[in-house]
C-alpha cells in the first residue's frame, strides 16, 4: 500500500425509519493514498453522499453508523469525541456538499461565510480572512471577487454558488477533500479549471481527494482509481484506465454504454429497470433483476467481493474463477 491516508473497513450506515431499516452504506471498504484521487460513482441513491457523511461523522438521525472503522492517518474517526471530530473536520478534512443552496446561509453575504470558516479554523482577523476569501474566489474563476464577497447567495448563478462552496473547502488546504458532485453546475471550461485547481492541491500538498461524481468524463480525465457503487455496496474497484477499457461488473459496463456518443442520435442504451428499494432488496445479487448476464446462481447467492491478480475487484459471480481471494 502506498502511503494510505484514509481507509474505511466494512462501514455500515443505516436509516432506521417506520418503513423499516434502509442500509444506505452496506459494508464499504475503500482506501485513498496521499495525493490520490479516487472517484466514487454510482446510481442516484446508491449511498455515495451517505458514505461521505459517514467518514466525516455527519450522519444525522434517523441515520446511524452501525458498524465499521474509518482509519484516518492512524486514528479511527468513529471513536473520536464530537469535539475532536469537529477539529478534524475544520483542519484536516473538508467536504464540498452536493447542494450549495441548502449548505449556504441565505441571509449572510458569501464573503462573511467564507471568512467565518477561515477565522474559525485559522484564527485570523476578519480583515485578513476577507482578503483571503477574495483570493479564493478569484482562484475558482469568479470575476470581481471583491464585489462578489458582498453578494447574497440568491444573487449568484447556480455555478457561482457551487464555486463559493469550493472556495470555502479549499481555503483550509485540507489533507483529505471529499467533493460531492463539485462541478455539476459548472460549464466545461470552469469545470476544467476547478478540477485542475484540486489536482494542483493534491500534487502540491499531497491532498487526497474523494471525488463523488456522475460524470464519467471527469472520472476518465482526473481520477487515478474508481469505486463503482450499486445499492450501498462497492460493485467494482480498480484503476480508471482498465475500468473503462474493460469493465468487470455488468453494471459498470451498462453505465458506460448509457453515454451519448457524438454524432449518434439513436436511442440511448439505458440500463432497464430501476435501483431496488433499500427496504426490499432482491435475493442473491442485488443487480440481478437488471443484469443482462444473469445466471442461476445470481438469483440465490449474493456474490462476495472478488479480488483479481491485477488488483481490480468486482462483486460479481462472473469473476469467481479468476479471483485470487474474496473479500467480504
Amino acid at each position: 500500500m502506498p502511503d494510505t491516508l484514509l481507509s474505511t473497513f466494512d462501514v455500515r450506515t443505516a436509516f432506521h425509519t417506520a418503513e423499516g431499516t434502509a442500509v444506505a452504506v452496506d459494508g464499504v471498504s475503500l482506501s485513498v493514498a496521499r495525493g490520490e484521487t479516487l472517484a466514487v460513482v454510482g446510481e442516484s441513491g446508491c449511498g455515495k453522499t451517505v458514505l461521505g457523511l459517514s467518514i466525516l461523522g455527519l450522519v444525522q438521525p434517523p441515520g446511524r453508523i452501525d458498524a465499521g472503522r474509518v482509519l484516518f492517518d492512524g486514528t479511527d474517526l468513529l471513536t473520536l469525541s464530537p469535539e475532536a471530530m469537529r477539529r478534524v473536520r475544520g483542519n484536516r478534512i473538508s467536504m464540498i456538499f452536493q447542494e450549495p443552496m441548502t449548505s449556504l446561509n441565505p441571509v449572510l453575504r458569501v464573503g462573511e461565510q467564507i471568512a467565518e470558516a477561515i477565522r474559525l479554523h485559522r484564527g485570523k482577523s476578519r480583515r485578513e480572512a476577507l482578503a483571503q476569501a477574495g483570493n479564493m474566489l478569484s482562484l475558482v474563476g469568479i470575476s470581481d471577487p471583491d464585489r462578489r464577497l458582498a453578494s447574497f447567495p440568491h444573487e449568484l448563478s447556480g455555478g457561482m454558488r457551487q464555486r463559493v462552496m469550493i472556495a470555502m473547502a479549499l481555503c483550509l488546504s485540507p489533507d483529505l477533500l471529499i467533493a460531492d458532485e463539485p462541478t455539476t453546475a459548472l460549464d466545461v471550461t470552469i469545470q476544467k479549471q476547478i478540477l485542475a485547481l484540486m489536482l494542483d492541491l493534491a500534487a502540491a500538498k499531497g491532498t487526497a481527494i474523494l471525488l463523488i461524481t456522475h460524470n464519467l468524463g471527469v472520472v476518465a480525465e482526473t481520477c487515478d482509481n474508481a469505486a463503482i457503487m450499486y445499492s450501498g455496496q462497492v460493485a467494482e474497484y480498480g484503476d480508471v484506465a482498465s475500468l473503462f477499457a474493460n469493465p468487470l461488473h455488468p453494471y459498470t459496463a451498462g453505465l458506460i454504454r448509457s453515454l451519448p456518443r457524438p454524432g449518434d442520435k439513436t436511442r440511448l442504451e439505458a440500463i432497464p429497470g430501476t435501483v431496488p428499494s433499500l427496504t426490499r432488496l432482491p435475493r442473491g445479487c442485488r443487480f440481478h433483476p437488471r443484469c443482462p448476464r444473469v445466471f442461476d446462481r445470481c438469483r440465490t447467492d449474493a456474490p462476495p467481493f472478488f479480488r483479481l491478480e491485477s488488483g481490480r475487484c468486482a462483486r460479481c459471480w462472473l469473476h469467481a474463477e479468476a479471483a485470487l481471494e474474496t473479500l467480504p
Binding site: E43, D187, T189, G217, G263, L268
Partner: protein, 321 residues
Amino acid sequence: MSALIAVQGLSRRYVVRGGVLGTSRRTVTAVDGVDLAVNRGETVGLVGESGCGKSTLARCVAGLERPSAGRVLYDGREMDDPRVRDNLPRLIQMVFQDPFSSLNPRRSVGFSVAEGLWAMGMGDRAARRERVMELLDQVGLLPEHADRYPHQFSGGQRQRVAIARALATNPSLVVCDEPVSALDVSVQAQVINLLCDLKARLGLAYLFISHDLAVVGHISDRTAVMYLGRIMELAPTDTIMDNPAHPYTRALLAAAPIPDPARRQAARTPLAGDAPSLFSPPPGCVFHPRCPEAMPECAVSSPKLLETSPGHFVRCLKETP
C-alpha cells in the same frame, strides 16, 4: 407561420449591491439583447459559461421574470395579451435542475402532478385523477406512485414526476434548465429517451439548457452558445459540434471531458484569462481578453450576430465581411 416562441432584443438587468460593506449599488446586465426563436416541435439547446445568463433567459421565456427591455412573443402575441397571459401554463412549463427542491415534500406526487390542472380549472376531480394516471404512465411510472411522497422516490424518478407535472397542462414548450445534471448516466439516458419520445409523440418543443455538450448534441436540433449575456453562435447542432465558427464555441468543445482515459488531454486549462465581469464588461468583443484568435481591432469594435451561411449565426469580427 410565426415561431412558437420569439425572443426579440431581450435584456434583463439586476441592481446589486457592491463594495465590501454592500453599500454601493450597481446595475448588471445578465442578458443583453438576445434574439432567439423556438419553432413548433423543435429542440433548441442553450450552452455557455456558468453565469452567462442561461437561467435568466429561461425564466424570462417562461414568464417567471419580466425582461428589462425587448420582448417575448408567443405565437406572435405579446405577454400582455390576455390570450397569452391567462393561458401561460398551457403554453409553457419549466423543469428545473433539482428534482429534490422543485416538488412539495408534503404533497403526494399525484397532487403535485395535478396542481397545474386544478389551478387552471381544467377538468373535475375524476377527470384530473384520470389525467394524472395517464401522465404517470407516459413518463414510465406506476398508478400506485400517485399516492406516494417525493422522499420515497429516487432522483431519476423524481425528475420523471417533475416532467409529468410539466406535461399536465399540455404545454407546447417545455423549458428544461439542466434537467439531467443531477442524474447518473443510466437514469440520464432514461430521461433523455423519454423527452425524445414525448417530442415525437406530442410534438413538444424544448428549450434545453445543459453543460453537458454530449447531451445537448444528442437532443437538440439547433444550439445557441452564450457568453456574458449574449448569443455568440447559433446553428444547427451538427454544425456547432462539427464546424464551430466562433472561438468561444471551439474553446468550449475542447474543454469537454472525454469519457475515455486513453484520450486524457495533457492541457487542462484551454481558456486562459479571468472569467469576464458583468460589472465591467470588456469593450469591443466581450470575449477578446480570453480569445486565442483576438486581433487588435477586437478590443475596440464589437461584432454583431450575423448570418454567415443559411441558418448559421456568428458574433465574431473574423466572420464579419
